[in-house]
């Protein structure tokens, strides 16, 4: 069994690299052995030409705003000091460069750490539940099963509905006076709960909604991963006398590793930045107890006196947190032999 596991990983990990090598050979055969240099520039020329459109878009649309955001985060720009045009009057900008003052203010204030802690709890809880439930459902749907496509279709539906619509639906379900959840609680004799009025129930409520939203994606991704695992591996393992648990552990989970590593990372990033669920369901409330980092930064920038510089600094810090997370994650993957 260890051999079969090894084979899967090698096949997925090494495919592209092997392919490149063999392709090089194929072309040199046809062209009668061109120099190593020409062969490599030829190949790289194609690659770069294909990558260019995205590089341009990312460079212009992300690079420029990013640079400007970095700059703004080191100024004291607010709505009042930002240049603007009112009718025919052009008011010039009056904000000044203040260095890292914004960052210091954020990092030394308690609010940031409080929000970070809740954002981490929110992300870990959501992604763990997404992955666990998604994998469980995928394993069930992967079996021979009557009504399999019906189940699959119905289970995917929460994903088919736009997140903001679901957020509104759930806000209505949670409504303390007219919501169906309280209606059911009262019907069985339990008291109504003010779901979104209390910090702890509001937190549970938003996590529940996000789990409901995110499970189908994980389920479909895992199902795809399961279907890509060759059935012969299971047969071979069974002939070799592997127990069901061993087969699950060394074939299923091992075969899912490429898919899992990608979707968990993506899921983490999406959840960390999940705006509509928080913004539309609890509005960050009660107080600011369910506000995650992104919604808080948004509120800084666009409510009250718009604090552009402070919001930009929050944005930069959030980005740094995520990059750090991705680096740690990649290091963990690399230890397991997954390299890119």
């Amino acid at each position: 069994m260890p051999t079969s596991t090894g084979r899967v990983t090698r096949a997925t990990g090494g495919r592209a690299a092997d392919g490149d090598a063999t392709r090089g050979q194929g072309r040199s055969h046809r062209r009668g052995e061109p120099g190593r240099f020409r062969r490599s520039t030829g190949r790289h020329w194609y690659a770069w030409a294909m990558v260019t459109p995205v590089l341009i878009v990312v460079g212009v649309l992300v690079g420029w705003p990013l640079a400007r955001g970095l700059y703004l985060s080191m100024t004291d720009a607010t709505e009042a000091t930002m240049g603007r045009t009112i009718g025919v009057n052009v008011i010039p900008s009056t904000y000044e460069f203040v260095g890292i003052d914004n960052y210091l203010a954020i990092l030394t204030g308690g609010l940031f750490w409080q929000k970070l802690a809740w954002t981490v709890v929110w992300t870990v809880a959501c992604v763990a539940l997404h992955y666990g439930i998604g994998l469980g459902l995928a394993l069930m749907l992967h079996r021979k099963l009557r009504f399999r496509s019906a189940y699959r279709l119905l289970l995917i539906l929460p994903w088919a509905i736009p997140a903001f619509v679901s957020a509104f639906i759930w806000r209505y379900l949670y409504n303390s006076d007219y919501g169906v959840i309280n209606g059911m609680l009262e019907a069985v004799g339990l008291g109504a709960v003010g779901w979104l009025n209390d910090p702890s129930t509001a937190r549970i409520a938003v996590i529940a909604v996000n789990v409901w939203l995110g499970v189908p994606f994980m389920m479909v991704a895992m199902l795809g991963g399961l279907q890509a695992i060759p059935g012969e591996l299971y047969e071979a393992a069974e002939v070799d006398g592997a127990s069901p648990w061993q087969r699950f552990r060394h074939i299923t989970l091992a075969g899912l590793r490429t898919v899992s590593s990608t979707v968990v990372l993506l899921g983490t990033i999406w959840t960390f930045n999940m705006f509509p669920v928080i913004f539309l369901i609890s509005g960050g409330g009660p107080g600011s107890s369910t506000e995650i980092l992104v919604t808080y930064a948004f509120r800084e920038a666009f409510t009250g006196v718009r604090n552009y510089s402070g919001s930009a600094a929050w944005g930069v810090i959030i980005l740094l947190v995520l990059i750090l997370l991705a680096l740690v994650y990649r290091r963990a993957l690399r230890k397991q032999g997954e390299v890119w």
Binding site: G19, F279, G315
Partner: protein, 290 residues
């Protein structure tokens, strides 16, 4: 790893068969999951069919004089149709541009190992992590100076910052799952690497293109933050922004909201159902065996 504990004893049941109890458990669990996933949607539909003030009921009623009152009000008394059109335009433009721009990149980073390959991978990954919080203010100021605030193209430009890297990333993983032997066959037959991509891989990747397109459509369709800030006037709002008005701080009408939610969810789900059969089709199963 002592994997020989069970010896070579054959099991009584063949693979894929299971006992009645296990079947009941399996179907039971799935049914519970289906109920949880469907209930909010069913309740939404039922509420939208209640009369005007039907949502203001503390009792649990599935039906209550079903009527289409809420729907006619949404379509005739609110700006809902305009919002819908705006949303469709923004999402469709984002989808087309995103897939168009990203597909070659997805292929290149899936197949070629060129200097800078890892740099591009990282760029795509990190761009996806960008919280809109960091881009939204500069983009807002940029759009303001270009006069693109409150314009759909401005919104589409903002969405491209997310859609393009995401599409490239997603297609890369789809291209990864197409065996390289297929490209090689094309190259042996005399195609250039670009020709192999265009004539051989792209047709094979149609399902994944559809999935990617669909996903970028959905992302733009459901976006709230940029739209809330960029689209300030009534007739330019997208659905995610407009609906917030139905259930504001001081006044809410869940009848209007549920009816419009159904109207939004229906086309979204239809697109979804058209695409979902391609969501997981084992892409090239059997393509290399022959």
């Amino acid at each position: 790893m002592s994997s020989t504990t069970a010896g070579t004893a054959r099991r009584a049941r063949g693979r894929g068969e299971r006992s009645v109890g296990a079947s009941i458990l399996l179907h039971g669990t799935l049914l519970v999951a289906v109920v949880i996933s469907l209930f909010p949607i069913v309740w939404l539909v039922l509420t939208s069919l209640k009369p005007r003030d039907g949502w203001l009921s503390t009792e649990l009623q599935f039906f209550n004089q079903p009527s289409l009152d809420n729907y006619t009000r949404v379509l005739s008394e609110t700006a809902f149709p305009t919002w819908l059109l705006n949303s469709v335009l923004a999402a469709a433009l984002t989808m087309i541009l995103g897939v168009f721009i990203a597909s070659t990149t997805g292929y290149a980073i899936s197949r070629f190992r060129f200097p800078g390959h890892r740099g591009v991978m990282w760029l795509l990954l990190i761009t996806q992590m960008f919280p809109m919080a960091i881009l939204i203010v500069p983009l807002y100021n940029l759009m303001a100076s270009l006069g693109l605030l409150n314009q759909i193209p401005g919104l589409v430009i903002a969405y491209m910052t997310v859609a393009v890297p995401f599409c490239a990333w997603m297609m890369k993983s789809y291209f990864d799952s197409i065996p390289i032997e297929i490209d090689q066959a094309g190259l042996v037959d005399g195609l250039t690497p670009f020709g192999a991509f265009w004539r051989v891989i792209l047709p094979l990747a149609r399902p994944s293109l559809a999935v990617t397109a669909f996903y970028s459509f959905m992302t733009a369709w459901g976006e709230v933050a940029y739209a809330t800030v960029f689209m300030s006037t009534e007739e330019k709002r997208t659905l995610g922004v407009g609906l917030q008005q139905f259930v504001g701080q001081h006044w809410s009408d869940w009848g209007l909201l549920t009816a419009s939610a159904v109207l939004i969810a229906v086309p979204a789900s239809i697109v979804f159902l058209l695409v979902q059969r391609h969501l997981v089709t084992g892409l090239t199963a059997g393509a290399t065996k022959a």
